[in-house]
């Protein structure tokens, strides 16, 4: 590697947090990374492996926002930036939540206000030019909190490149992003590569990015390893499995609810004509649609939070509904997982049995420390814990899950899909899953798939469209949990 072309270098970086006031927990042990001008680097790793910690350390955010100790160096063009008061303008970071980067509600005002500090009177011109470059000019007159996840992500990248940075760090750029927006984000990354911007991407959902990155690293046990990119690509034929309808009951299932000609609108501009829908016991329904297509609205109609403008929703067999929101952390209310179990099981007819079932399920899912706060669990652990409480407590007969596969790695998705398949087949629970990407659903075994397209519910004609392939998940599990995969960088 030509050392002249290295723009960013991380040397012997060690990061520790103080937990419980005094106990030191080392997250990053000895990180070394060199990024060349125009290079695109992908960093993968399990939930909680320290990817976000590394991203935030590089930009210098960590020691300013959290009680963390940082040792080692992060050199930008040979100058240490870890302890600088402000990050250099040439390095920009877009974190997991893109909405936080906007101060003004009106996007154009926010972007022009930011650009004004660098370009003065030319700010408007620059914002227009950059937004055209990324194909985002149609979003400038919107308010930031009305953007979909994919749109917000793209506009946050637009804000980051206003000052022509040399290094761009993207933390989970594909989180909450539907398949169409994934292509748009890839297009943006390609455009930035063409401008010789060095990009570091931290991502769970990395498969769609493999063709646009130069190098892949694995963050494991606090150390960064370089991976052979080909090891991640699907080199072998996917393991085809016969999709067996494991939830097919021996006799005709009891109908839970039916919807007839349901129409809903928030205002006259957004009308959702969902039409007819039926749900029976032991069914796993998948709603597949773009961001903003109406999936969450549909779940809210089923749960009774919203009332249809016209049409009817009839419950043939009333059962308790449990809901897992897009941010799983919002599901939790107690200070320990154990207290969560107790509170949920208080509502059961058999609290003792409920507690045993949930505890057993949690142990099987790798949640062993029940005295831990649910708020300190990783994203994937929170989803698993919530599903154990919802599915194995026997309190809820219908589960509504809003994007349960987002923000987690491929193996976690495989595990969560397994839980859902099992809940439906063995515990008699019905499940409706809302998802914005096909990729997340390959491990599920649904009874029906519906496409949600601009508020219309269209039953899928091809029940086998979700390729039932577990080879990727198992490969990722092997890389994350197996022996050290490749050379330490």
């Amino acid at each position: 590697m030509n050392s002249e072309s290295v723009v960013l270098e991380v040397r012997n970086l060690k990061v520790s947090y103080y937990v419980d006031g005094s106990r030191e927990k080392t997250i990053l042990k000895n990180i070394n990374l060199s990024v060349r001008r125009g290079e695109t680097v992908l960093v993968i790793g399990k939930s909680g492996s320290g990817k976000t910690t590394l991203a935030r350390s590089i930009i210098g955010l960590l020691n300013k926002t959290q009680n963390a100790t940082i040792e080692g160096e992060v050199l930008f063009k040979g100058k240490d930036i870890v302890n600088a008061d402000l990050p250099p303008e040439e390095i920009k970071y877009v974190g997991q939540n893109p909405y936080i980067y906007f101060v003004e509600y009106h996007l154009k005002r926010d972007l022009e206000g930011y650009a004004h500090r660098y370009y003065g009177e030319k700010a408007k011109e620059i914002v227009l030019e950059k937004s055209r470059f990324l194909g985002l000019e149609h979003l400038l007159d919107r308010f930031y909190y009305f953007l979909s996840g994919g749109e917000a992500r793209r506009v946050a990248i637009l804000k980051a490149i206003i000052t022509n940075p040399e290094v761009l760090i993207l933390d989970e750029p594909l989180m909450w992003v539907d398949d169409e927006n994934v292509l748009k984000i890839k297009e943006i990354i390609r455009s930035l590569r063409s401008m010789n911007v060095s990009i570091i991407i931290f991502e769970h959902r990395f498969m769609p990015l493999l063709d646009i990155v130069d190098n892949v690293y694995l963050l494991k046990n606090g150390i960064l390893y370089r991976l052979d990119k080909n090891r991640l690509s699907a080199t072998q034929a996917p393991e085809e499995q016969t999709r067996h309808n494991n939830n097919a009951p021996s006799m005709s299932p009891r109908k839970i609810l039916s919807m007839k000609n349901v129409v809903f609108s928030y205002d006259d501009a957004r009308v959702y004509e969902f039409g007819d829908f039926e749900l029976s016991e032991k069914e796993l329904i998948v709603l597949l649609g773009r961001n903003g297509s109406g999936k969450s609205t549909f779940l809210k109609l089923v749960s009774g939070q919203l009332k249809p403008k016209s049409g009817s929703i009839t419950w043939h067999h009333r059962c308790r509904t449990g809901y897992l929101p897009q941010k799983p952390i919002a599901f939790f209310t107690e200070i320990t997982v154990m207290k969560e179990i107790e509170e949920v099981c208080k509502q059961s007819k058999n609290p003792g049995g409920c507690r045993d079932n949930v505890e057993k399920a949690l142990k099987a899912l790798g949640i062993n420390d029940l005295e831990r706060s649910p708020f300190s669990l990783s994203w994937g652990e929170q989803i698993r814990t919530a599903l154990a409480l919802l599915g194995y407590s026997g309190v809820y007969g219908l589960l509504l899950l809003d994007e349960p596969f987002t923000g987690i790695d491929y193996y976690d998705r495989y595990v969560i899909a397994g839980i859902l398949n099992n809940l439906v087949a063995c515990n008699g629970v019905s499940v409706i899953v809302a998802a914005s990407t096909m990729e997340s659903l390959s491990y599920l075994n649904p009874s029906h798939v519906y496409h949600v397209n601009n508020g219309r519910l269209v039953p899928s004609r091809d029940q086998h469209e979700l390729a039932y392939d577990k080879s990727i998940a198992l490969k990722i599990k092997d890389i994350y949990e197996g022996a050290v995969p490749c050379s330490e960088n």
Binding site: H106, K159, E343, F375
Partner: protein, 238 residues
């Protein structure tokens, strides 16, 4: 409900009038209300006329500016205040510690309305962005900063509250929505931290407002509002 609250935030969309014209109109309307209220007018008819003219001027200006719908929505809140004021006056009257007659009670209510009416266009007419600008210009930069930080993430917080309330209602039933308090506290802290993160990386955007939008149009609205209320004031007083 909270999600709908978030959508109420952009009520103060672009106005066709410049900031100075809007400040001038709002200030003159407020001054007019104060002068009428403290002029010691005893005649009910005059107070009625003062209130009616004020209301007509506000409605006329806001309907030309396309803000009437928002103003009328905002009036719901105003009527709540007026109603509370009415209760207060009625209570004082019934207990014999306040006004001596029903006319005085009605007059008290009308004067309350007179004072509150010009405040609603202020909420409809000025964006938090413009309020921050004014605060900064009058030397209250810290307060402006606090206002911008607090308001910038408020819509996100409302959306979080809405989602949490819905989730917890289904989890435990409607009586236990208070249980989302841990999550909401945590989320507020995280949003605060997030604001710091955005501030650290990007700083605060420069504020640019249009003090004067269209000279003739701005002057016209200021002249119309001020001349009408001065004439009305003089007619009522004498």
């Amino acid at each position: 409900m909270f999600r709908e609250l978030a959508s109420l935030f952009p009520i103060a969309r672009e106005s066709r009038y410049g900031l100075l014209a809007r400040i001038a109109v709002t200030t003159s309307m407020t001054t007019y209300s104060l002068l009428i209220v403290f002029a010691g007018i005893k005649d009910m008819l005059r107070v009625n006329a003062a209130l009616a003219i004020e209301f007509i001027v506000i409605i006329a200006i806001l309907s030309v500016d396309g803000k009437l719908e928002h103003y009328l929505n905002g009036l719901k809140v105003i009527f709540l205040f007026v109603f509370l004021g009415a209760l207060f006056y009625a209570f004082s009257y019934l207990t014999g510690i306040g006004p001596k007659s029903v006319v005085q009670v009605l007059m008290g209510i009308e004067k309350t309305a007179l004072l509150i009416f010009p405040l609603t266009p202020a909420a409809t007419w000025f964006t938090p962005y413009e309020v921050s600008y004014v605060l900064e210009k009058i030397g209250m930069r810290t307060f402006s900063l606090i206002l911008r930080s607090a308001l910038s993430k408020l819509p996100l917080l409302f959306i979080d509250i809405s989602d949490a309330a819905h989730t917890i209602k289904l989890k435990y039933g409607s009586g236990k929505i208070y249980k989302s308090i841990y999550y909401l506290l945590l989320e507020s802290l995280l949003l605060g931290n997030a604001y710091y993160e955005a501030y650290y990386i990007y700083g605060l955007p420069h504020i640019e407002v249009e003090l004067i939008k269209n000279k003739r149009q701005d002057a016209y609205v200021v002249f119309l509002a001020i001349s009408t209320i001065i004439t009305t004031y003089l007619l009522i007083i004498y």
